[in-house]
């Protein structure tokens, strides 16, 4: 499982990605009086602030972090659902973040996505057959009726849903089955790269394992590459090749899964991992962070984590730390680690 990222060409590359959302509303809501003058003021949510990472073919890169840290935004920006404010997304060396929908088409066949909520991600007015046939017919208009039917049956069998249920509507299935159908839809066009945005967060614990196994089986059979978004740390350790930790739209640490979980470097990763409940373990070693996550509207200067970090020094309050390779394959964005203070 623990494969060191080889020095091959990355399948997907994210370069200095920035995504800001303008939530200031209409022109009238932007105008405020300041010192007797009308000032137009915009409110930006800085969801992602300069994230760079690469994903190697065949690996599972997990992105973890707490709610609102920008991990889902990252997933959607990679898929082209959000237009990045700045930065680049490259797939197989080609830049894809600035393509129009026609030029994007070949990449749509290679990149697919599995969504979080299986109750919202399937159109309630379409049968399972219609849902699964749509991507296939759209991308391969030349397929005959029989080929389409066979493909639907084959993929349904692969994800563990009886092909005989194809003419039922999504509301007739349980959450776990719906997520299987959602995965089947992503697999219909035989993609090479799948973004899974918290695919098990909305499921029962007993179903979570089944869906995880399904994702891992699909990876083995099809040689898939995953970008896996999650906040469930034990799941992430189980399935990931490498793990990226995000906090407030910034990448804190990026490292192979086992070293990261055994010896986290970044103070935030340390605190995050110390919060994993362990069977039979004592509550010792739990790092309790003080304060709240700052809002992404007013980002703190310097390192975004400095307000809650025990190691914060003057430099941390002023200078944004860059992501540097601390040990082979282990990237950390922390002044304290860089200076050897921890």
């Amino acid at each position: 499982m623990n494969v060191e990222p080889a020095n091959t060409a990355p399948l997907l590359e994210v370069r200095d990605l920035v995504k800001h959302f303008d939530i200031s509303g209409g022109l009238l809501e932007q105008l405020t009086l300041q010192g007797g003058r009308m000032v137009r003021r915009r409110t930006l949510v800085r969801a992602i602030n300069g994230v760079s990472l690469t994903i190697q073919p065949g690996e599972t890169l997990s992105v973890v972090g707490e709610s609102g840290c920008g991990k889902s935004t990252l997933a959607r920006a990679v898929m082209g659902l959000y237009q990045p404010t700045a930065g680049q997304v490259r797939y197989g060396g080609e830049r894809i973040d600035n393509l129009d929908s026609r030029a994007m088409m070949p990449f749509r066949r290679k990149m697919q996505m599995v969504f979080q909520d299986p109750y919202a991600s399937l159109n309630p007015r379409m049968t399972v057959r219609q849902i699964l046939e749509e991507p296939l017919r759209f991308h391969h208009p030349g397929h005959t009726e029989a080929e389409v039917r066979d493909k639907v049956a084959e993929v349904m069998r692969q994800v563990g849903v009886r092909p005989g249920w194809a003419d039922n509507y999504p509301h007739e299935f349980s959450g776990g089955q719906r997520q299987r159908i959602s995965i089947a839809r992503a697999l219909m066009v035989d993609p090479a790269f799948v973004v899974a945005d918290e695919p098990i967060a909305a499921l029962d614990v007993s179903i979570q394992a089944q869906i995880l196994n399904l994702l891992m089986d699909a990876q083995d059979q099809r040689g898939l590459t995953y970008l896996f978004i999650s906040h469930d740390l034990s799941v992430v350790r189980h399935i990931s090749t490498r793990v990226a930790v995000m906090y407030l739209g910034c990448l804190c640490e990026l490292a192979p899964a086992d070293p990261l979980f055994e010896a986290p470097l970044h103070p935030y990763t340390q605190a995050l991992l110390s919060a994993i409940p362990r069977l039979g373990g004592k509550a010792s070693g739990h790092i309790r962070l003080t304060g709240d996550v700052p809002t992404p509207i007013n980002l703190p200067p310097g390192c975004v984590f400095h307000g809650r970090c025990r190691q914060a020094a003057q430099r941390c309050r002023e200078e944004v730390p860059a992501l540097r390779e601390h040990a082979p394959g282990r990237f950390v964005a922390c002044h304290a680690v860089e200076e050897g203070r921890i």
Partner: protein
């Protein structure tokens, strides 16, 4: 066949059959509409054919009052059989009501979908247009256009194209109702993940709007459609009553009421009363059906 079997087992039919008001309304609406459209077969005479009208028969009382009268509901001032004119008039009224709603729906659904899905400036412009449109009342628009139209083309020509004209006027005046309702539903639907999934597949916006979002916004559209049919029939009747709707030679229910209005105090009450009763019955039952449908489709009242 499969559709019929599914309907028989559906909750829709079950709920419908358990509501006597809905069943009663449905029967009355179906009776009135079929009677209207079968008017050439059912009606004792053709009120559009001057050869069948005898002026000597004018203002005869209904059959149960005047034993000599051979007209069940009496005749109007021109000697036309009231029953026949009501049947033909119902057909005209229903036709205008359905036509106007079809036009409203086509315009309103299209504009609402684009407005909700595109958002931003497109949305702002389209919704301000809708606001402006709503600030003119239907009657004002219709009176204005009708007066211009009759003045330019003459009353004779107007009589020939009165039906499409009324459909266009009522349809154009009321589309914002649809546009606003559809836009609100689209705003709620487009945030759902199945729309993002469709975008990840790479489907063009038009197809996402039409095949994915629109079917999920149909519930409120069905409810306002029923109410709007009743409204359109009422608008047409009101316009006809003030003389800007259907001409007396091709009467709708509204113009029948108007044509008898002058004779009420001379004792010929039946000319106004019977078309009035039919109009009230038609609008009341359509509205009751709309009420039932709104309750049925409201998830908060579901199976209560």
């Amino acid at each position: 066949m499969a559709l019929l079997a599914r309907l028989r087992e559906s909750y829709l039919l079950h709920s419908f059959l358990r509501d006597p008001v809905a069943v009663g309304s449905f029967i009355v609406v179906v009776l009135l509409v079929t009677a209207g459209f079968l008017a050439p077969v059912l009606a004792p005479m053709n009120p559009y054919d001057p050869a069948q009208i005898d002026v000597m028969d004018s203002e005869l009382a209904p059959a149960w009052i005047d034993q000599d009268s051979s007209f069940l509901l009496g005749t109007d001032s021109q000697g036309r059989d009231i029953l026949s004119t009501i049947l033909y008039g119902t057909r005209v009224s229903v036709l205008i009501g359905l036509g106007a709603v079809a036009l409203q729906a086509a315009l309103g659904i299209g504009i609402g979908l684009i407005s909700g899905y595109a958002g931003g400036r497109v949305d702002a412009v389209l919704m301000r247009v809708a606001d402006v449109q709503l600030s003119f009342s239907t009657y004002m628009v219709a009176i204005f256009l009708g007066a211009i139209f009759q003045a330019t083309f003459g009353v004779g020509r107007y009589e020939q194209i009165a039906v499409p004209f009324l459909i266009a006027v009522i349809g154009l005046a009321e589309w914002p109702q649809y546009a606003r309702t559809v836009r609100a539903s689209v705003l709620a639907e487009k945030k759902k993940e199945y729309v993002e999934a469709a975008r990840v597949i790479g489907l063009p916006s038009g197809r996402i709007m039409w095949r994915h979002i629109l079917p999920n916004t149909m519930t409120p559209v069905m409810v306002i459609s029923t109410v709007q049919v009743a409204n359109a029939i009422m608008s047409e009747a009101a316009l006809s009553f003030i003389g800007l709707g259907m001409p007396v030679t091709k009467p709708s229910l509204g113009s029948l009421i108007k044509s008898g209005f002058e004779y009420i105090f001379s004792g010929a009450w039946w000319i106004t009363l019977f078309p009035g009763v039919v109009l009230v019955l038609l609008i009341l039952t359509i509205n009751l059906l709309g009420d039932w449908m709104r309750d049925f489709l409201n998830p908060k009242l579901y199976k209560s």
